[in-house]
């Protein structure tokens, strides 16, 4: 599907390469470059050739860098993985306590305050948050660098916090809803009647049950983050897969884009599979019912 869409979309990789300097080129040069890139071959031939390569673990050669697509993706993946892990950790550290607090203090001022944060988080776009964070924490307070090198912890902090900001808001709402739902269950009332403390009930019963529905959401977020987050990566000059993908799309680097699409598909499928399996492990009732 993506191969067809790319072929149908306007724009010619040969032109994009040859005219990147803002000059026009001769039709002969254009044709020669199309031949060199194999763009003069029929669509089906190109697709079958690509597919055959995929089965052999060869995703082709990038038009622009002339390097194997796999090598390019491997080079950019660690930065994306770092950002993914860091933003998920920050998100969980924020969302779970905030969600619980919001549920425990439902319709009281801590709840209103946290709900205000969640409204803000889901409303404002990532790029704006990123630029505001840069302006405040990097430019005014000099706590972190403006330009990330993709290396140190301080470089990682701001892009991770930016990504975590919107995610935290979304997850806080989910945690709040899930915890509230559990708090209204009979077993909570029963436990409290038996004299168990609120904290004990929360930790032993409510939280494990409330966290389960979040796993699907977490899987989707993980997939999306591992695919690279283009806007944030560009703002923070973060050398990740999102940056690579945007560059490839702009340059009409078809093998690179195709490799990226394949990666995204695989990562989503794998994570969905892991999420499905983990349901059964974390809640044996699901495993039994499916049998």
């Amino acid at each position: 599907m993506s191969f067809s869409l790319m072929s149908l979309s306007p724009g010619d990789p040969a032109e994009a390469m040859l005219m990147s300097g803002g000059q026009s080129v001769s039709p002969e040069l254009l044709e020669a470059t199309r031949q060199e890139l194999g763009l003069n071959r029929p669509f089906l031939v190109r697709y079958m050739s690509w597919l055959w390569g995929v089965f052999r673990g060869d995703l082709g050669i990038s038009y622009t860098s002339k390097q194997p697509v796999v090598d390019r993706m491997i080079a950019f993946f660690p930065a994306t993985l770092k950002l993914t892990v860091a933003s998920l950790v920050i998100m969980l550290i924020v969302a779970i306590p905030f969600g619980i607090l919001s549920a425990l203090y439902c319709d009281r001022w801590p709840d209103y305050l946290i709900r205000g944060f969640t409204f803000l988080g889901v409303s404002v776009p990532n790029f704006w948050v990123g630029l505001m964070f840069l302006s405040f924490f990097a430019l005014r307070l000099h706590l972190v660098p403006v330009v990330s090198s993709g290396q140190g912890f301080s470089d990682l902090l701001l892009p991770a916090v930016t990504l975590a900001f919107a995610m935290s808001a979304k997850y806080t709402r989910q945690v709040r809803t899930a915890v509230l739902e559990e708090l209204h269950q009979d077993y909570v009332l029963g436990a409290e009647v038996r004299g168990e403390s609120r904290v004990s009930v929360l930790c032993r019963e409510v939280l494990p049950n409330a966290v389960l529905p979040l796993i699907t959401l977490l899987g989707l977020s993980l997939g999306s983050l591992l695919g690279g987050t283009a806007v944030v990566e560009i703002i923070f000059s973060w050398p990740g897969l999102g940056n690579l993908a945007v560059h490839a799309i702009t340059a009409r680097d078809y093998p690179m884009v195709q490799g990226y699409v394949l990666w995204i598909s695989l990562i989503y499928m794998t994570i969905n599979l892991i999420v499905d399996i983990s349901y059964g492990r974390l809640d044996p009732r699901i495993g039994r019912s499916s049998r």
Binding site: G11, S24, P27, Q67, L134, P145, V147, P208, A251
Partner: protein, 521 residues
């Protein structure tokens, strides 16, 4: 309880992963380093691929036989001098002695020959866009390039970074990722595409002392981030910022600002195969456009108003050529009315003399913000004189497709007018009559036999003064024929820390960091 522990273990493991991935920063306080913020451009450092040689030149790594000065004139570089033979078919370059590549190998005329031949072999652009040669020979310290026909601008062509001189005796396969071995003040020590390029002092540099141990070119794709990086002192020089950033850098004690009219012209071709085949309508369009206001107010001085094909940054008569269609909306309305363009259906827009509704398809592309500003301003100005324009924004690649197919009434293009210091190719390509014999020529349908004749004369003329006169004549005809709309000529800005000294800005931006760029203590 077990689940609870699992969850917290998971969080701890994730946190440890972050810590493990976060490596320490490496920096040496004793090294003198210049940090430059750039936009992503080169995917490899192989100079014969695409326009990547421009980057190798800008990074202070590669040098050519000839270079441009701040006015676009030619200056000796790796060639001390050059001359043309009497039959005008051979160019003799005297190769500078005592030049070494960054690996210590001496640059001989034989190696220069090998380098140029490599470029012609590997780059299709070299073979088609500059000159065709019959032979390259070495005679002592001279390099003799013989062309198949008299070719005026061989020295200017060889100043294009595509022809920078590399050491062909080493493993040239490594150039793409490790950088080519060249003769510039710096040599590549590490390169990560879309991330960073670090160059270090070339200890064998022929041109004198090189001030920095290292120069780091950090790719900062976002313009606002690049601006903030300079403000925060994380970079010393920021390239590719625009006039809109100037307000941030007004404090002269902290920042320096350089600006120069560049060699780029933003123009709109008018497709003469449709409504715009009528010169009256083309004249009315140009007269309706308030280009001075566009560049001074809307673009905040980020360009100079256009008038002629060749921008004022090159000395080809910009001031001397009078525009018969300068801004005059009343005159635009009058010539439309006088020539049968009337609003028949009362919608505020004129119909053609034979009653057809006019709605001009103005194709622009989205990668340059100023193009949208020009197009929207033009749309409003043209509405005021009763000409309907629909702006169609597409990607750069789609714009190229539409230009090729002639699918436009007006199509905008920000184009480099003279990458070799001479506008002959540019003029020929866009305004010489299209023919199958010359498929490289314009797709807007403009044709003027006198322009064609002058262009043919230009191609065989070697006298610089006569060439200048010919170029001015050609431009005068194009302007008189109202062939294209010349919106503006881009102004290039360069912002740096005020401590950086020796930075220069060139109309042809092939040179960024040279041996003269230093930093005050």
């Amino acid at each position: 309880m077990i689940r609870e522990h699992r969850f917290f273990r998971f969080v701890v493991v994730l946190a440890l992963c972050v810590m493990a991935f976060s490596g320490p920063k490496t920096a040496s306080a004793s090294e003198k380093i210049l940090r430059v913020g750039v936009t992503s451009f080169a995917d490899t450092l192989e100079p014969t691929t695409q326009y990547f040689s421009w980057v190798v030149s800008r990074y202070g790594v590669g040098e050519c036989l000839v270079r441009f000065d701040e006015k676009g004139g030619l200056k000796p570089c790796l060639a001390e001098s050059w001359r043309c033979s009497d039959d005008k078919k051979s160019w003799i370059f005297r190769i500078r002695e005592g030049v070494k590549f960054s690996n210590g190998r001496e640059m001989t005329p034989e190696l220069v020959k090998a380098s140029l031949e490599r470029t012609f072999t590997m780059s299709k652009r070299a073979a088609t866009a500059f000159f065709k040669y019959d032979s390259i020979e070495v005679d002592g310290q001279n390099l003799i390039i013989t062309t198949s026909s008299p070719t005026y601008n061989v020295p200017g062509s060889l100043a294009e970074p595509l022809f920078l001189i590399v050491d062909t005796t080493v493993d040239t396969e490594s150039f793409a990722l490790e950088g080519p071995i060249c003769t510039g003040p710096y040599k590549v020590v590490s390169f990560k595409a879309s991330e960073i390029c670090v160059v270090a002092r070339n200890d064998h540099y022929w041109g004198g002392p090189v001030p920095f141990d290292k120069v780091e070119y950090k790719v900062i794709g976002d313009q606002v981030t690049r601006e903030m990086a300079l403000q925060a002192g994380e970079i010393d020089v920021a390239y590719n910022l625009k006039s809109g950033n100037a307000a941030t850098f007004t404090d002269e004690s902290r920042y320096s600002t350089l600006c120069i009219p560049a060699l780029r012209t933003t123009l709109a071709f008018m497709n003469q195969k449709g409504f715009l085949g009528d010169k009256i309508l083309r004249q009315a369009i140009i007269r309706a456009l308030d280009r001075d206001t566009y560049v001074e107010v809307l673009l905040d001085g980020g360009a100079t108003a256009g008038k002629t094909p060749v921008p004022p940054s090159l000395d080809f008569g910009f001031e001397d050529i009078e525009d018969p269609n300068s801004f005059d909306p009343d005159s635009a309305r009058k010539i439309l009315t006088d020539n049968g363009y009337k609003d028949i259906d009362g919608d505020g827009y004129v119909e053609s003399p034979n009653g057809e509704k006019i709605d001009l398809n103005f194709v622009i592309y989205d990668s340059r913000a100023e193009l949208g500003i020009y197009a929207q301003a033009a749309q409003i100005n043209l509405k005021e004189v009763g000409i309907k324009v629909t702006v169609n924004t597409v990607s750069y690649e789609t714009m190229l497709d539409k230009q090729e197919a002639g699918d436009f009434d007006l199509i905008i293009w920000c184009v480099l007018a003279a990458n070799t210091g001479d506008p002959e190719n540019y003029l020929r390509e866009f305004w010489r009559t299209y023919s199958n014999e010359a498929p490289n020529s314009n797709k807007a349908g403009y044709s003027n036999s006198e322009v064609d004749r002058l262009m043919d004369e230009l191609s065989t003329e070697f006298d610089p003064t006569k060439r200048r006169d010919l170029v001015i004549d050609i431009q005068r005809h194009i302007v008189d024929d109202a062939a294209s709309v010349f919106f503006g000529c881009e102004v290039t800005y360069l912002f740096s820390s005020s401590k950086v000294t020796g930075l220069k800005i060139y109309p042809i931006d092939y040179y960024w960091i040279t041996k003269d760029v230093d930093i005050a203590d």
